[in-house]
């Protein structure tokens, strides 16, 4: 009777959420119109999943006076979403779920004229680490074997990812640079397609968020070799990190909620309370654990400082990437 048990847990979780002090929230400002909840990616990816999860939690517990209207604006690697935010008609009712194209797209497409440091920080929901995966049939079980194999194949080792300039390609570029690897990189249009082609052995390795590879990992199809996190991940305690291998490098996909530039302080406070409540709720905490996301709670000032360093880091990483190809 698994289902009923889960039902019970689910109901318990949602009542617990409902009991959160929603009513105690600031009454001085509340949304008057449906809230534009822009998703910086197409349907189906990690960002979309998180956005729909958050929206479902908010809706199921009736945490806002007006509904969140999720809209996918993934065009141009997030450029569409960034422009939409920049020119938001009603900044107080426009928020967005981000991934790292939040940093990379304005750098790569300067013509957009988007400065993300003008955006309004709301809540950092967590950061998604990256892991290097191979198929179990490859026989590779350690990172060292992987390096050996890539070198032996001399440019014929095929990896898949979500496109040059995207998160995983940055990680792969770093790895290739650090170990002098020559990798054949095939871009796909989504993490799901990459995982599928690794499972079908069309490609030999990927760098992917654990959430996207989890099903295959649990079935024993995928073998994790290396994590690009700061410390070993609780769900993969035997997987070494890049830092242990002597390179000071870690890379995460940020899962954050941001507001449009020019959002009023009252509105920003309102959304911070709502999404902090979501963040602290059991549903989200459970999600963080099951999908191996790392928490990274930050206040507004910290977030702004974090953005500045991230923009700098990405500028360097991308220029290294551009220099190579």
């Amino acid at each position: 009777m698994k289902l009923t048990k889960r039902l019970f847990l689910g109901l318990a979780a949602s009542t617990a959420m409902a009991a959160l002090p929603v009513t105690a929230m600031a009454e001085d400002w509340s949304p008057k119109r449906p809230i534009d909840f822009t998703i910086m990616a197409g349907p189906g990816g990690g960002a979309d999943q998180i956005a729909r999860f958050v929206q479902s939690v908010v809706e199921a517990n009736d945490m806002t006076t007006r509904p969140l209207v999720p809209t996918n604006r993934g065009g141009g690697s997030g450029a569409e979403a960034l422009l939409h935010m920049k020119d938001a008609r009603d900044a107080d009712h426009t928020i967005m779920v981000t991934l790292n194209s939040f940093y990379t797209t304005p750098i790569r497409q300067e013509a957009l004229g988007v400065d993300i440091e003008t955006f309004t920080p709301i809540t950092m929901m967590g950061v998604d680490p990256f892991v290097l995966w191979v198929h179990k049939d490859s026989g590779i079980t350690t990172f060292e074997q992987y390096i050996e194999q890539v070198r032996a194949m001399d440019g014929e080792f095929v990896m898949g990812g979500t496109g040059s300039g995207q998160e995983d390609s940055i990680v792969i570029a770093f790895m290739s640079g650090a170990y002098g690897l020559d990798i054949k990189y095939i871009p796909y249009d989504g993490g799901g397609a990459v995982a599928k082609d690794l499972a079908g052995k069309q490609i030999m390795a990927t760098v992917n968020n654990p959430a996207e590879a989890k099903g295959f990992y649990e079935a024993g199809e995928f073998v994790p070799l290396l994590a690009f996190s700061d410390e070993r991940m609780p769900a993969y305690p035997d997987v070494p990190t890049m830092k242990e291998k002597g390179h000071d490098f870690s890379y995460y996909n940020q899962r954050a909620i941001v507001g449009a530039p020019g959002m009023s302080d009252e509105a920003a406070d309102y959304y911070r309370q709502v999404f902090n409540a979501v963040y602290e709720g059991d549903a989200w905490q459970g999600y963080l654990t099951s999908e191996s996301l790392s928490p990274l709670p930050m206040n507004e000032a910290e977030t702004r400082a974090y953005w500045t360093t991230q923009v700098e880091n990405h500028r360097e990483l991308l220029s290294a990437l551009g220099g190579e190809s």
Partner: protein, 167 residues
């Protein structure tokens, strides 16, 4: 018709040239070892479009297509009037969306079409022009959670009232 066909083909040929030029911003060649560049596919397809325009012109010159031998005008007076009244109505409808919101524009468009093109009674016209936008509002905003454009700021109070009703 005869003139129209070659003009349209000429227009499309120009558009194909523009697309070719635009596509050549990315590599259009076959890069050794990696296959076609980012501009390859659109560039060569636009080139085929250009060739087809050439073939269309050739067929036109030989009088092979029905339009190229037709002596009829492209559209008669009635045809042009219909295109302008109906097509123009749709263009005006879309232009109004940013002014008086999606729902307002729908109401005006329906009233215009039903009354002045369809010659229906005022009673029927108003019934449809008022009830349909309201129905669509409930369907899209309340049931489907899709926010439609709201036009200029002066429509805001009206929407705020409607939102108070549905949420």
């Amino acid at each position: 018709m005869r003139q129209g066909e070659i003009s349209l083909a000429g227009l499309f040929a120009l558009f194909s040239l523009y697309l070719m030029w635009k596509a050549s911003e990315l590599p259009i060649g076959y890069i050794r070892g990696t296959g076609p560049g980012g501009g390859f596919w659109p560039f060569w397809l636009s080139f085929v479009m250009l060739l087809s325009c050439g073939a269309i012109a050739w067929n036109w010159w030989r009088g092979k297509s029905p339009a190229s031998t037709s002596r009829e005008p492209l559209l008669d007076a009635f045809g042009w009037r219909t295109v302008i009244l109906v097509g123009g109505g749709v263009v005006a409808f879309v232009a109004l969306i940013n002014v008086i919101s999606m729902y307002g524009a729908i109401a005006i468009f329906l009233a215009y079409y039903l009354r002045f093109l369809g010659r229906h009674s005022w009673w029927l016209t108003l019934a449809i022009a008022i009830l349909l936008p309201i129905g669509l509002f409930f369907f899209f905003e309340a049931a489907m959670l899709i926010s439609m454009p709201q036009g200029m700021p002066f429509t805001q109070p009206f929407f705020d009232v409607m939102y108070d009703i549905i949420y």
